[in-house]
Symmetry: C2
Subunit: 358 residues, 2 copies
DNA sequence: CTTCAAATTGTTATCGATATCATCTTGTCG
DNA sequence: CGACAAGATGATATCGATAACAATTTGAAG
């Protein structure tokens, strides 16, 4: 019944993939493979005329450079590895974009992985990445398994840790103190007269930045003599918008007189605010809420959310830039800490003068 | 002044990166390199005892497999390339996650790139990706430059186009009709009694899924005899939340009696709703709004947003699964179209019975 | 005690580019 | 005009693993 005669035009013919090599391009042009190789790099010495002829042949034949072969002999993979906790989080995808942009036109390509906030997953990924012999690696945070650290050091490539200030950096750092940033937010709000502070975050273990924010909160509230903060832990980090909503409900059940609630991220803050609105409470009139991260949503939603703006994109961009520096200067730069900025963005959700809308 | 005697403990010593090779591991254990190579693959025939000894040596020496060398000789790169328009968009990052998950434990790694909704950027990226000799490639959408198509066909690897149903597929497709999905939404809302439809989208050219949604809207509104839709184009796609807000303002200025506004995505719908709220209009009492994509925000915000739920994660997962199939069956599978589901999710933002809150 | 198949390990060639050094032009300058 | 530097190109070895085939060992069956 099968009609073998049907036109198999578009079908993938195995033979189609004529493995074209540089040597064949070279033969076609009448030069050596080495010259073709040179023609692909701008620095190399090939006469303009030859390069032009070669490029025409490349076009005509449809040759595509094979970097896996190239990187073996040149001992340069052309990869930069980057690990982020999650890519569905726009803070981190902004960071990834910053890295991609910084690597533009450098001949380096980003090899991206998601750790899912897990140090074990990170360890696995680090090994998987190192097998590709990246020329540098960018990590999120400073908590790694012992084996991960060992592999990184042994790899002998520059490492940049981001988004935090690790106590014991492996190499370079591009980030900020999450604890101090949260502290600043607490002080700012306390300066506006708030006294009864609540906090919503995930159950602590996995998300180190989250726990740093939490401890910054706790420490500062106590320093200000405002007693122990009212802490709610809800769900495995990263906590969702929905969990933010659930969390604020339990927080207010337990401590109904809370004046302002700080959240580990804008996403949970947003969920919290929406849940309050839905329950007929007005933010900030009845309860003030603040987030962390300055996600797009926070400047758009109603009421707009007070938050800490973090230079996510800049973290990625600078991390990649530091790496490039180190690669160029021959890795002698040593370790540095590059601090990235953050700032409190006061918006409607903590406005002391009450009702968000008219 | 420089103290050369300082302990350079953590500093990157160039010599640290003792290029360990398989041969050295082999010598250490007293076997051949080939046996070490075998020990790394589960299928290969190595006695358990030998494998154990080798793995202990690998651990002791800190050897990490070099896949760039491996892929050259095995002619299998272990890469799957994937191009998405943007990674800051959670719909696409869900798709990326679906692909990553599907590739788990297959020994294949995702090589991810962002096209920024540009066919030229896509062409560049396709070339960059092909230089790594991926074993398959996943694209978003069906619009590619002529050269991109040529390169893809020539590469002789399976190609999966996603998120749309291209008229002339290169190879396999995993997606749905954006136009029909939008059409379904229009019909559903018309069925609820809405008559005066508005539409908010980006200026069309770049985002092909966006323009398909737009044309689905326009066609259906006319088919239903509701006259030409009221269309506002605002900003270069992907349009932001903020642009959604600006767009609905101009739409309502021009056609104040509009009953329901459909938006190219939930993000613009959200921005539109928030802007309305801010201006004292109630959604859906004064104006109904619907989105597209069922982003997390839409089920959390207030009012909750009516939208089209798309199986973003499933698109990624199935695209990768199709690719794996094709790779296993030796590429003979030929072309197929895998339809992914979508459904209308009716929520408060288009509720005919009025006021969102009590 | 053979014999032969299966299991285990080794040897050699090779993947496709690039580093390195060698060769050959060309042109400038004393 | 000779010498030498700069520019362009080529020949060969090599990067570090794996494919393919060969060799050896082991064990079960006859």
């Amino acid at each position: 019944m099968k009609n073998e005669e049907e036109p198999k035009d578009k079908r993938l013919k195995p033979g189609d993939a004529q493995k074209l090599t540089m040597a064949e391009v070279a033969k076609y042009v009448g030069v050596s493979a080495m010259t073709v190789s040179r023609a692909f790099r701008q620095d190399a010495s090939v006469s303009e005329e030859t390069r032009k002829r070669i490029m025409e042949a490349v076009d005509a034949l449809g040759y595509v450079l094979d970097l896996s072969a190239g990187s073996l002999s040149s001992r340069r993979s052309g990869f930069i590895a980057a690990l982020v906790p999650s890519i569905n989080n726009s803070n981190f995808s902004d960071t990834a974009r910053g890295m991609t942009d910084a690597l533009q036109n450098t001949g380096l390509q980003l090899l991206l992985g998601y750790t899912d906030y897990s140090a074990e997953k990170e360890e696995e990924l680090i090994e998987a990445m190192l097998r590709r012999r990246p020329e540098g690696i960018i990590l999120t945070g400073g908590s790694h398994t012992a084996r991960a650290r060992r592999m990184l050091v042994k790899a002998g490539i520059p490492v940049v840790e981001t988004w935090e200030l690790p106590e014991d950096p492996i190499n370079q750092v591009v980030g900020f103190s999450n604890s101090e940033a949260m502290s600043l937010l607490v002080r700012t709000l306390a300066g506006q007269g708030y006294r009864k502070f609540g906090y919503i975050g995930g159950t602590t273990a996995r998300d180190t930045r989250g726990s740093q924010r939490r401890s910054g909160f706790q420490k500062t509230v106590e320093e200000l003599g405002l007693g122990p903060g009212r802490m709610i832990s809800f769900g495995v980090p990263p906590i969702t918008m929905e969990q933010g909503g659930q969390a604020i409900v339990s927080l207010l059940e337990r401590w109904p007189d809370t004046e302002v609630v700080l959240c580990v991220s804008d996403l949970s803050a947003f969920g919290a605010i929406m849940e309050c609105t839905r329950r007929g409470m007005q933010v900030p009139r009845d309860i003030a809420v603040a987030g962390f991260g300055d996600y797009e949503i926070s400047s758009i939603c109603h009421p707009r959310i007070t938050t800490i703006n973090v230079d996510c994109y800049g973290i990625g961009r600078q991390a990649a830039a530091r790496l490039l520096d180190t690669l160029h200067t021959g890795e002698a730069t040593g370790d540095e800490i590059t601090l990235t900025g953050y700032k409190v963005v006061l918006r409607e959700s903590t406005d002391r003068n009450g009702a968000p809308t008219a």
